[in-house]
């Protein structure tokens, strides 16, 4: 199960991070660090290109093909100063000098681009002086005491409901009441007029999402043309929190692929989201991928289905970076419409760190802040180009989304949050090192 990182395993060789930890290609044996001649860089580049061509022609077996083709834009990450010219003869000092490998390890300990993707930055304290502090206190009172009444007294007396009408929980509660009052009869009683039923349920779900958004005082700016309902298209977006789905759902009813959650969220998933046509997956099951892939394909081909929304990152990222996109959404042969979402951190940090807080805590945090402000851009639908493989297509779309939303790209697979990297990657490093030793051995 730990080898879950199958064909989607990212390069993991090049941490595209800003700190000076050495790029991972510095495992060549050799103590001398000279400026490499350009030909060495190109040699390696061409070797990789050669393998890719071979692989495309079916020349390599599938496992090595996967690890090769999973490395897009290698030359971007390869910097010249790390490729050293391989010295001719092997000395004891060369053999004993393991400093490049150790430096990589230490660099990873000190800072690595993967952990940075999931760091929630604590908000900067701005209230620590004599006049701002009382203002902040007032703000707390307003946010917690008026905007989010902690007491659910409306349950007790109806009159309080009116007074709470303009308060967030009140809004939310009212919304739920109206929603269920309309949804349950529609769902259970209107049989036979399926088309109408679906339409009404869709509208109700959209309304409920608007209520949710209103309950956090969401200020959402949508840019770009509204998504249309057509078959043969999927929508992909970057993922920061579960509320991404709610924000997008408010505008158009999407069907979405979600991880099944426990608790009340799971209950809502089962009852309501089924009506908009959601697909479930389970990260921890290895056979799950094929099953989900088939379901996705069927869904996109159905004419009446809601447009499908996929978050190809596979996990929540902190809205400063994007991790590698999984290629599942990009090998369906249909149009891919990218959606970029960027939250404004000044008001609240919408990143849901699922390891640190439950969804309920996260929602409560959102509801006790001032507002959730974000921008949503609907970008132009993309098609796979002739000669482009799904992974390259995914990278191209990730580029578009990252540029639009101002996010940095990082070559890691999001699933590494849950699983260890595949041992194949360590073996690749070992292989390179071994080959260089053997090569120099021949020259003694």
């Amino acid at each position: 199960m730990n080898q879950r990182v199958g064909t989607d395993s990212s390069p993991l060789r090049f941490a595209a991070c800003e700190s000076a930890s050495l790029p991972l290609f510095a495992t060549f044996i050799g103590a001398r660090r000279r400026a490499p001649p350009a030909r060495t860089h190109r040699q390696i580049g061409s070797q990789l290109v050669g393998r890719r061509i071979l692989a495309a022609m079916g020349g390599l077996d599938s496992s090595s093909m996967e690890t090769d083709l999973d490395r897009p834009n290698i030359e971007e990450y390869l910097t010249t100063e790390t490729i050293r010219e391989v010295p001719k003869k092997l000395h004891l000092s060369d053999l004993l000098d393991i400093s490049p490998t150790l430096t990589e390890a230490a660099g990873a300990i000190v800072d690595d681009s993967f952990t940075r993707c999931f760091k929630s930055n604590s908000p900067e304290p701005w209230n620590w002086n004599i006049y701002l502090f009382p203002l902040w206190c007032l703000g707390v009172v307003v946010r917690y005491g008026i905007l989010f009444p902690a007491s659910f007294s409306w349950l007790v007396s109806f009159s309080n409901l009116i007074s709470c009408m303009f308060c967030r929980v009140g809004v939310l509660a009212l919304g739920w009441i109206v929603f269920f009052a309309a949804f349950l009869p529609v769902h259970f009683l209107i049989r036979g007029h399926d088309k109408w039923r679906c339409k009404i349920e869709r509208k109700l779900v959209e309304m409920m999402c608007s209520v949710f958004v209103a309950s956090w005082t969401g200020v959402i700016k949508y840019h770009g043309p509204r998504p249309s309902r057509r078959p043969q298209q999927v929508f992909v977006a970057n993922h920061t929190s579960m509320i991404d789905f709610i924000i997008l759902e408010q505008m158009t009813a999407f069907a979405v692929i979600m991880q099944k959650h426990p608790g009340w969220v799971g209950f809502i998933q089962k009852t309501i989201l089924e009506s908009v046509g959601c697909i479930w997956f389970n990260r921890t099951e290895s056979k799950d991928r094929e099953v989900v892939a088939t379901k996705i394909r069927e869904h996109t081909q159905g004419v009446d289905n809601n447009p499908l929304l996929i978050f190809p990152e596979g996990t929540c990222v902190n809205n400063h970076y994007t991790v590698m996109f999984k290629k599942g959404a990009f090998e369906l042969g249909c149009a891919v419409c990218p959606v970029a979402i960027k939250y404004n951190k000044i008001f609240v940090d919408a990143f849901w760190n699922s390891k640190k807080q439950s969804f309920t805590t996260h929602l409560a945090q959102l509801m006790t802040s001032w507002a959730v402000v974000c921008d949503v851009w609907y970008l132009e639908p993309q098609y796979i180009r002739p000669g482009e493989i799904p992974i390259e297509f995914a990278e191209r779309v990730r580029d578009m989304i990252s540029v639009r939303a101002g996010l940095k790209k990082v070559p890691w697979d999001g699933y590494l949050k849950y699983f260890r990297p595949s041992p194949k990657l360590t073996e690749r490093k070992q292989q390179i090192f071994a080959e260089s030793v053997l090569k120099r051995l021949e020259e003694i």
Binding site: L92, A106, V110, D112, P421
Partner: protein, 175 residues
């Protein structure tokens, strides 16, 4: 410096700085502390092997297991001392001493043929046969004037690596 506090006092920083022989500036130590707390998820005061391995870049490193044994159970002060070998302010001699410690698995002050073989095995995996590995090491040892059964001490390492331009530096990001 308690396990649960997330604030470092000036006194703590100076103590850590003393311990690592001023390898890092005070700002770098604060940065390292944030990193330590970030990696130490359950706030136990030390980073477990699993927590280190959750950094994918570290997990794919061929020497990760060897380093984990050296890093196991270190508190923050010792963690900084461990990383001090990678500071640009540290002399070449001290870096070579660190390298020696990595090789000297059972910490008896001697690096034998088997120790070198073990490290080479970690680095090359299954891509060289055991026989070839032994051959490589024997050859380079003999060329440097040692026998296969001789064990190297720290001064030997200093002599062998002292004139090499060993570059073992890591930059601590200061945010």
């Amino acid at each position: 410096m308690g396990n649960t506090s997330s604030m470092l006092t000036q006194y703590d920083i100076e103590e850590v700085q003393e311990h690592c022989n001023h390898a890092f500036s005070q700002q770098e130590i604060v940065s390292l502390y944030h990193r330590f707390c970030q990696l130490d998820r359950n706030s136990s005061g030390f980073i477990t092997g699993d927590e280190f391995l959750s950094v994918p870049e570290f997990a794919v490193n061929p020497l990760s297991q060897r380093l984990l044994r050296m890093l196991d159970g270190l508190n923050f002060k010792e963690f900084v001392a461990f990383l001090s070998a990678f500071s640009p302010r540290i002399s070449l001699q001290q870096k070579i001493e660190f390298l020696f410690k990595v090789y000297d698995f059972n910490s008896n002050g001697k690096v034998t043929f088997d120790d070198i073989l073990s490290v080479l095995r970690d680095l090359t995996g299954s891509f060289i046969s055991e026989q070839q590995r032994q051959e490589v090491i024997t050859r380079v040892l003999e060329e440097a004037g040692y026998r296969r059964d001789s064990s190297l001490v720290l001064s030997d390492f200093m002599r062998i690596l002292g004139s090499s331009q060993l570059k073992m530096e890591v930059e601590v990001p200061i945010d």
